[in-house]
């Protein structure tokens, strides 16, 4: 299973779903077509916004860093924040907001503790450039990278419950190694959380 399949599995049919940082609407399209979900995206990238509108998806042009007060408490069944938290100015605040808006939330993160990033830094002495972190340090949008451990500590400190978690290796699959020692062998982690 890949991350999108897991997300699909975690979301009940006919749910109301908000995707914060929805990109070109890849996930929303699948949820809307295959899971009967009512979907809304939030995005700031202009090309992505147009791609969403072109696919008939509802999308709001909004900067998540400027706040999400316009979304009511528990107003969506599920809030998705996929590969987005690391580009935000205030990840902790964003997590609080995500769990306020959604009855449940699904968050995916790139794991900076993955063995490839550790080795890359150790041997090259340069900021790691890997499959899940493909850009140079001065070009990346990622300003708040964390490891799986870091993320779970933050959830704990913020009284956010982790209801489910799944780990994927750098080829996007759920391997035994990633399951046994995720902080070392998972490139991506996906969490189902709630307040």
């Amino acid at each position: 299973m890949d991350t999108i399949e897991v997300i699909q599995q975690w979301i009940e049919r006919d749910s109301e779903v908000l995707d914060l940082g929805c990109g070109d609407g890849e996930i929303l399209k699948i949820l809307s077509n295959d899971s009967g979900a009512t979907v809304l995206g939030v995005e700031i990238n202009q090309e992505d916004i147009n791609a969403c509108i072109k696919s008939g998806l509802n999308v709001i042009e909004q900067d998540i860093d400027q706040g999400l007060e316009n979304f009511g408490d528990q107003s969506f069944d599920v809030v998705i924040m996929s590969q987005t938290i690391q580009v935000l100015r205030e990840p902790k605040k964003a997590l609080m907001e995500v769990t306020r808006i959604g009855k449940e939330s699904i968050v995916t993160i790139p794991n900076f503790g993955h063995i490839s990033t550790r080795l890359s830094l150790l041997f090259s002495g340069k900021m790691p450039v890997t499959g899940s972190l493909p850009k140079d340090w001065h070009e990346t949008d990622n300003i708040h990278l964390c490891t799986i451990k870091d993320f779970e500590i933050l959830c704990d400190e913020s009284s956010i419950n982790i209801n489910e978690r799944r780990f994927f290796n750098s080829t996007g699959n759920e391997s035994i190694l990633a399951k046994i020692s995720p902080n070392l062998f998972a490139a991506t982690a996906i969490y189902k959380i709630s307040k």
């Binding site: 009512t38 809304l40 969403c52 509108i53 008939g56 709001i60 042009e61 107003s75």
Partner: protein, 369 residues
């Protein structure tokens, strides 16, 4: 791509039935002038209604025989344009109360044979939308593919989605607001005072005496025009440029912006009716769909079924992005299908008239899907 619809001719029809107005009065034998572009398909499912703003009219695209000036939304309506006339049948009426051919204050009352003038009833956006629904009936259009408008036109598109949820598939609400602010009403009041206090206004009966309150109308337009432009646009277009290269210590128009505004005011006062202008500003002031719902906009939106696109422009201070967001947020709270675009544009409120790439792409993607 991106050609004009070419030479167009306005059409006319008389609406069937009576229109009961919100003010309690009613209108009959309503004559409507309108233009159409493109072709209606067999199942009449490709029709788009264009709603005009305060000073607009039915001439939205193309040119009249022997004239050069294109319609007010020619930048967006045409073959291959954002509102693509190769795909859609586009209808733009002159609203009732207008002064370009549809029943309005400068029409003669069929019962008395006199000009309506100041006796023309004060109508509302709701009344307009109901009159446009009668027009839809006459044209055989049961359901609009979309209703689209900018500014006051956007308010009509919004009202369409509320009042006739089953007759509209999509609504494009551009550079609009859910209601006017005190500042908006204040500017309108200055415009009204300028007209009402013109000695040639004659309590609105100027047509009977062959006069026209041009000075008042000019002043009203000048004030309005300032609110349509952004500080940025005025600065880059005029700055403090002088008509001559020195100050002359006189009260004539010395700065370029002064002569520009005077010119705009003059042209407008030659082509617009003062009673219509008063009426249009009143229609704007009265617009407030949330009023019946104790100010709860999302409750006012409950009936909506259409998919909506709300668009705002960064330098618009007349109806700023925040005003559009009020609409968007109420739609989200009401769980309606809405998309929102905030377009960077230097042209202030007038931005909705310009074919900015992102804006036109967004609008065409929305309409085409």
């Amino acid at each position: 791509m991106n050609e004009s619809v070419g030479i167009v001719k306005p059409k006319k029809l008389i609406l069937e039935g009576k229109l009961d107005l919100e003010c309690g009065q009613s209108l009959e034998d309503i004559e409507i002038v309108y233009e159409t572009y493109g072709n209606l398909n067999q199942d009449s499912s490709n029709a788009i209604l264009i709603c005009h703003a305060l000073s607009g009219n039915h001439h939205a695209a193309g040119v009249y025989e022997g004239e050069k000036r294109t319609g007010w939304w020619d930048s967006l309506i045409g073959p291959g344009k954002a509102i693509d006339t190769n795909k859609f049948y586009v209808v733009c009426p002159n609203n009732i109360g207008g002064c370009h051919g549809s029943l309005g204050p400068s029409s003669k009352n069929s019962k008395t044979g006199e000009y309506f003038g100041p006796d023309f009833p004060i109508i509302t956006v709701k009344d307009w939308v109901r009159s446009q629904a009668l027009l839809s009936d006459s044209l055989g259009i049961k359901k609009w593919h979309a209703v689209v408008g900018g500014s006051l036109g956007g308010m009509q598109a919004l009202e369409w989605s509320r009042l006739f949820p089953d007759r509209i598939k999509k609504a494009g609400i551009i550079a609009a607001a859910p209601k006017l602010s005190a500042q908006n009403i204040a500017f309108n009041e200055v415009a009204r005072q300028a007209i009402l206090n013109d000695p040639d206004f004659d309590a609105g009966r100027y047509l009977d005496t062959n006069k026209s309150p041009k000075q008042g109308l000019k002043l009203a337009r000048m004030v309005g025009h300032i609110t349509y432009l952004s500080e940025e646009a005025m600065k880059s277009k005029f700055g403090r440029d002088l008509k001559e290269d020195k100050l002359n210590f006189v009260y004539d128009a010395e700065f370029e912006i002064e002569s520009y505004l005077r010119y705009q005011g003059d042209v407008f006062s030659e082509n617009f009716d003062a009673n219509t202008y008063l009426l249009m500003t009143k229609i704007l002031d009265y617009f407030d769909p949330a009023d019946e719902y104790e100010g709860d906009l999302s409750k006012a939106f409950e009936s909506i079924k259409a998919q909506l696109l709300v668009v705002s422009f960064t330098t618009d201070w007349r109806f700023s992005p925040d005003r559009s967001k009020e609409i968007v947020n109420a739609l989200i709270a009401a769980k309606k299908k809405v998309s929102y675009l905030e377009i960077e544009s230097p042209h202030g409120h007038d931005s909705f008239l310009f074919a900015d790439n992102r804006y036109t792409r967004g609008l065409s993607s929305f309409l085409d899907y």
